[in-house]
Symmetry: C2
C-alpha cells in the first residue's frame, strides 16, 4: 500500500498534471465504451477515477471487477475534465484521475443498503450495520461537526482558565432524580456502584477543593423511559465556578456558545442573550423552553371571560383556572373543522377537556363557540388585534393544562404553517425559577432543579415559612424550543442545605445517610459557587439540523435502550453473576 | 461579594499601589503587635494580607476571628514589603496587601488534617476528606498538570485531523481479557450491559465507517485485583487510523508525546524514539518494559556454564534454561550477605529457586559460589568487564524466571544505588512481539496483545501450521520502566481473523456468537487500519513525578476498590433490585 498523498475530496484543479496516490471506498462504477469510471469515496468527499488501457491495462482489468464498497488504493495523474463533463456540484468535479496503478485492499460483499443519503433501510437495520450507516455523507458530517464542537469547547475553556477534571463513573446511588444504572461489586457482594446521572456533587466538591474553574465533557447515565431525544447515556458539557454570580456565569456561557457557533457554523451570534423570567415564559409561551423564532404568544382572556355566560370559560376562571388563546394569522382558511377536531383528540394527553375555537372572517366571528360569547366579540377583536382570516384557539382550564396545551399547539401550528426560520438560532435565558415544583406523579414537592440550588435572598427567608413560594438562583439556556442546559448558584451554607433537605422530606438521619459527605464538606470552608451543564447531544443535533440525537451519536441505543449491532444488553454466564454475588429473579 | 480582580498568586510587585479584591482560603493567621497577618490561598498560590486599625478597624476585628480554611473576600492596597520581611521563595513574597475591607464568605471548622504538603493523615482519612486533600499544593499541581496534558492532547489531535468520537460506556460483555463490570438492564430483566475494558472494537468499526483518524480520551473499566498503579476505572488516550503502517502510527504518537512534553514539562524530547525488539528487551533487561535510564544489562552466561561442574548452573542450561547475571558496580561494599539474603526471600514470588552471588574484590572472586566455578573465573572477569568491587548476582532457571527475577532486581538495585536520573524521560518502542503468549494460569495460549492484532507476513503463514511462533505487528511505548501504552496494526481480513479465533480456542459458533458483528463487518469493505492507546493516568503520574496514579485522579478508589468519601459501593433498596430483575445471593 503506497502512502496516500491526498484525501479524495481535496483533489481539485490545483493538482492538475500532478501524480497522486489515493485510498478509499468504491462509491460506484460505470462503463462508457472502453473507459471505466469509479467514484472513490472517503470522509472528505469523492473523486472520479478513470481507467483505460491507455493508462494501464492491468489497472483496467482490476477496475472491471470492482463493486461498491471495495477498498482500493490507486495511483494516477490528475487531469482536467472537458467542460461538458464537469460536475460543478462537487468540489472535485472539474478534474478526474487517470489511474495507472491500483491495489485492491479489501473486497466487499453487497451491503444490506446503499451508502447514500437516500437510504431506505429501517432504523433497526441501520443500527445493526451502524458502521455502514455511518459511511453516509450526512452521518459523516454530523459526527465530524460534533468533533469540531468538542474541539471548540476544549479550546474555549482552556483560554478561560478552566481545568478539565475527570470525575468517577463508578459512584454511589442516590434516590433523588431519575433511576440509576447500578453496577454490582465483586469485592463487596451485595453492594453496588451507580453510574452518575451527572457529576453535580463531584463538581461542587471540586470547588470546595479550590480548583476555582472546572469543566468536563462528561458522560451521564439515566435509566429513564426513552423518548426521541433521550438516550440511556448522554454527554454533558459540565462546568462549575467559584466566587461568581449568575450574571458572570451566564457571560461565560454566552462566550462559549458564541465561539462554538462561530467555529462550527460560521455564525456571529449576538450577546447578551435575551433574559426571560420563568413566569413570563409560562404566561406568554406556555413553556419553560419557548421557541422564540416566531411570535403567536398566549393571550390571557381570563378577565374578559370571568363573568361570561359561557360557563366553559367563566367556570374555569371561577375555579382558579384561566382562559387563554392563540391566534393563527390566515388560519381561518388553512384549518378545516376536521383538522381542528384532530387536534382536540391529541391535546387530551395534557389533561385538556377540550379546545374551543372561532374563526374571524370578514369582520365576523364564526365557529361553534362564537354565538356564546357575543358580548365579548368587540373586546376580543381589539385585544387579539384581529383583522381578518384568523383562527383563534381557546383553552379554559387549570393554568398548567392551559400552558401545556397551548404551548404545544403553538409549536405544532408554527411547524404546519412554516412560520419557523430554520436558519435562525434563538438563544434565550430563562431566569427567576421557582425553587420547588409539585410532582403530580409522586404527589409531593420536589426541587425544580436539584436539591443543591441556592434560593434567592427572599427565598432563603421563605424556607422556614412558605418554602414553595421561594424562587431559585437558577437559569436555563434555551435554543429554539429546546432546553439546551441549565445551571444555578449552589448552596454553600450548611444551614440552608439542611433546610432544603427538610422541605424535600428528608429526616435529619436520611439526609445524613445520603448526603453526609456534602454536609460535612460545607463545614470546612465551602466557597460560594455555581455552574451550568449543557446537553452536548442535543446541542449537536440542533446545529446539525437533525431531529434525533441518535444522528449525532456514533453508536446509540435504539428506542428500547438496546444496541442491535453488538447485541447489548445480553445474558451473561451464571459464573459471572455468582462472582458478583447476584442472581436473576424469575 | 465584590468581583475578584486577581488570583492571589498573581499579586506581585507590578500591582504595588493598586487596589485589589481577592478571594480565597485562610492558610494561616498570625499576630505581631497590633498587626495581623493572613496568608490567603487559592489555586494560584498565596499572598500575605495585613490587617491594622490604620487600614480598617472593622477588617481587623474580623481578622481576629479568622481560622484556617475560612473563606473570605478582601479589598486592599498592594504595598511593597521592607527588604527584611520579603519572602523570595514565593512569587508574591515581595509585597503584601493592606486590607481595608473584608467579607467573611464561609466559616470553617478545624479540618481533620493540615492543608499542607507535609500532611501526616492516613490514606483513608485523606480519601474520606478528598476535597480537603485536594487543596494541598502538590495535589493541585498534579490535577492541573493533568488538565494541561489533556488540553495539549486535544490540540495535537485536532491539528492532525483526528476526529474526537465518543463510544458507548454501556456495551456488551466479552469473555476475553479481564473481568467486566456488569450493568443490569431494567428493560430486559436478566440481561446485562458491560462497561468497556477499552473502546477497541468500536474504534475499529469507526475505521470501517470511514472516519480515517479517530481519537478519544476515554474511560475504561476493569474489575481486576488492584495494585498501586491500577484503578477500577482508568483513562486512556485512544486513537485509530486507516491506511497507515506501524511506522506512520509511531511517528504520530511521537509527535503527540513531543507536544505534551513541551507543553507540560517544557522539555524537548528527541524523536524518533529508540526501537527495541521484544526479544532484545527480554534478553537484556528481563522485561518487556525496560527502564533504560541506567545500564546494568542482563548478561547471558549459559554457554560459559553449560559444562560446568557446578550443577546449579549447568543443570539449568541442560534442562533448557539459562544462567544470567547482573553486575552491580561498587556493589561489593554496598551489600552485606544479610542484605543479599533478604532479596533471596523476595524473589521466590517469581518462582526463582535462589540467587547465586559472588563479589569481585582485589582481583579475586569470593562469596559462597566462587569456589564452585573457579574454572570460569577468568572468562567471567572478561565477559562481565569486572575491574573490582563488583557484586555479581546470578540466576539459573527457566528463561521466564531468569528474566522476571533479574529484571526485578535490576530495577530494585538501581533505585537503592541511586543510579536513576529522575529528571530523565526515556521513551522507547518495544516492537516485534510474539503474537501469542502462554497463559500459565489458564494453561492455554492467549493473544499477547488482543485477538484483533495482525500477524506479520510470516506470521500469517504460520497461523495454519505453527501459530505460536508467529510475530505480531504490534508495538508498545515504554517510559522509564512503565508500559505507557501499546498498539498494533489490526486484522482487516475475515479469513485471518477467523484463524486467530480458532487458534485462541473459539469454535466457529462461539466466535460468531461473540464477534459475529466484527466478522460481518470484515465482509463489507473493511480498510487496513491500526492504532494505539496510552494510559493517561500513568502518563500523568510519571510526568508529575508521583508513585501512585491516585495522586493524579481527582476522586480515586482506594486499594480495595471503594470510595470512602461518598461510601461507594453501597447497599441499595430491594425495590431497585427488583426493578432490575436481580437479587443478591446469600
Amino acid at each position: 500500500m503506497e502512502k496516500r498523498t491526498a484525501y479524495n475530496g481535496q483533489v481539485t484543479e490545483e493538482l492538475v498534471e500532478k501524480h497522486v496516490t489515493l485510498h478509499g471506498w468504491v462509491q460506484k462504477r460505470r462503463s462508457l465504451g472502453s473507459l471505466i469510471f469509479v467514484d472513490l469515496r472517503d470522509r472528505s468527499g469523492f473523486v472520479q477515477l478513470v481507467f483505460n488501457t491507455a493508462f494501464s491495462a492491468d489497472a483496467l482489468a482490476v477496475a472491471e471487477t470492482l463493486r461498491a464498497e471495495d477498498v482500493i488504493s490507486v495511483h494516477g495523474k490528475v487531469v482536467k475534465r472537458s467542460e461538458a463533463t464537469q460536475n460543478l456540484n462537487n468540489p472535485t468535479g472539474k478534474i478526474e484521475v487517470e489511474v495507472d496503478g491500483i491495489e485492491l485492499l479489501n473486497k466487499a460483499k453487497t451491503p444490506p443498503f446503499d451508502i447514500s443519503d437516500d437510504v431506505q433501510a429501517s432504523e433497526e437495520t441501520k443500527l445493526k450495520y451502524r458502521y455502514l450507516d455511518l459511511r453516509r455523507p450526512e452521518m459523516q458530517r454530523g459526527i465530524m461537526m460534533r468533533s469540531k464542537m468538542m474541539h471548540s469547547i476544549h479550546a474555549f475553556f482552556d483560554e478561560q482558565g478552566f481545568i478539565d477534571i475527570e470525575t468517577p463513573y463508578l459512584g454511589k446511588s442516590t434516590p433523588e432524580g431519575a433511576r440509576d444504572y447500578l453496577v454490582p461489586s465483586r469485592v463487596y457482594p451485595g453492594s453496588f456502584y451507580a453510574l452518575p446521572q451527572s457529576p453535580q456533587l463531584f463538581k461542587q466538591l471540586l470547588m470546595s477543593a479550590g480548583f476555582d474553574r472546572y469543566y468536563q465533557i462528561s458522560r451521564c447515565f439515566r435509566d429513564e423511559d426513552l423518548r426521541g431525544d433521550r438516550q440511556p447515556e448522554f454527554t454533558q458539557i459540565d462546568m462549575e465556578t467559584t466566587f461568581l454570580d449568575e450574571e458572570q456565569i451566564q457571560d461565560i456561557t454566552e462566550g462559549l456558545i458564541k465561539k462554538v457557533m462561530k467555529d462550527v457554523k460560521g455564525l456571529d451570534v449576538k450577546t447578551p442573550f435575551q433574559r426571560m423570567s420563568w413566569h413570563d415564559a409560562m404566561a406568554n409561551y406556555g413553556s419553560d423552553k419557548p421557541d422564540t423564532r416566531f411570535d403567536m404568544k398566549l393571550q390571557d382572556l381570563s378577565d374578559l371571560f370571568k363573568d361570561s355566560d359561557f360557563k366553559v370559560f367563566s367556570g374555569a376562571v371561577a375555579s382558579g383556572g384561566q382562559v387563554k388563546a392563540i391566534v393563527i394569522k390566515n388560519g381561518a382558511n388553512e384549518y378545516s373543522r376536521k383538522q381542528i377536531d384532530q387536534k382536540q383528540e391529541y391535546i387530551k394527553r395534557f389533561g385538556a377537556k377540550g379546545l374551543a375555537w372561532m374563526k374571524f372572517v370578514d369582520g365576523e366571528f364564526n365557529g361553534p363557540v362564537a354565538k356564546f360569547v357575543t358580548d365579548q366579540h368587540n373586546e376580543l377583536k381589539d385585544k387579539l388585534n384581529l383583522v381578518g382570516d384568523e383562527l383563534v384557539l381557546f383553552v379554559a382550564d387549570r393554568a398548567k393544562v392551559v400552558a401545556d396545551t397551548l404551548g404545544y399547539l403553538r409549536v405544532e401550528i408554527a411547524k404546519e404553517q412554516n412560520l419557523i426560520n430554520k436558519e435562525e438560532f434563538n438563544f434565550l435565558w430563562i431566569v427567576d425559577w421557582p425553587l420547588f415544583e409539585y410532582d403530580e406523579g409522586d404527589e409531593k414537592w420536589a426541587a425544580a432543579h436539584h436539591p443543591f440550588t441556592m434560593p434567592d435572598d427572599e427565598g432563603v427567608k421563605l424556607l422556614d415559612t412558605e418554602p414553595h413560594k421561594a424562587h431559585a438562583r437558577s437559569y436555563d439556556i434555551v435554543l429554539n424550543g429546546y432546553e439546551l442546559g441549565g445551571g444555578s448558584i449552589r448552596i454553600h451554607d450548611r444551614e440552608i442545605q439542611e433546610k432544603m433537605f427538610k422541605v424535600l422530606g428528608f429526616t435529619e438521619e436520611s439526609a445524613k445517610e445520603q448526603f453526609g459527605f456534602l454536609l460535612d464538606a460545607l463545614d470546612f470552608g465551602f466557597p460560594p459557587h455555581g455552574g451550568l451543564a449543557i446537553g452536548l447531544d442535543r446541542f449537536a443535533m440542533l446545529l446539525a439540523g437533525r431531529d434525533n440525537i441518535r444522528d449525532v451519536i456514533a453508536f446509540p441505543k435504539n428506542s428500547k435502550a438496546s444496541e442491535p449491532m453488538m447485541n447489548a444488553p445480553a445474558e451473561v454466564s451464571d459464573a459471572q453473576l455468582a462472582e458478583l454475588g447476584i442472581e436473576t429473579r424469575d
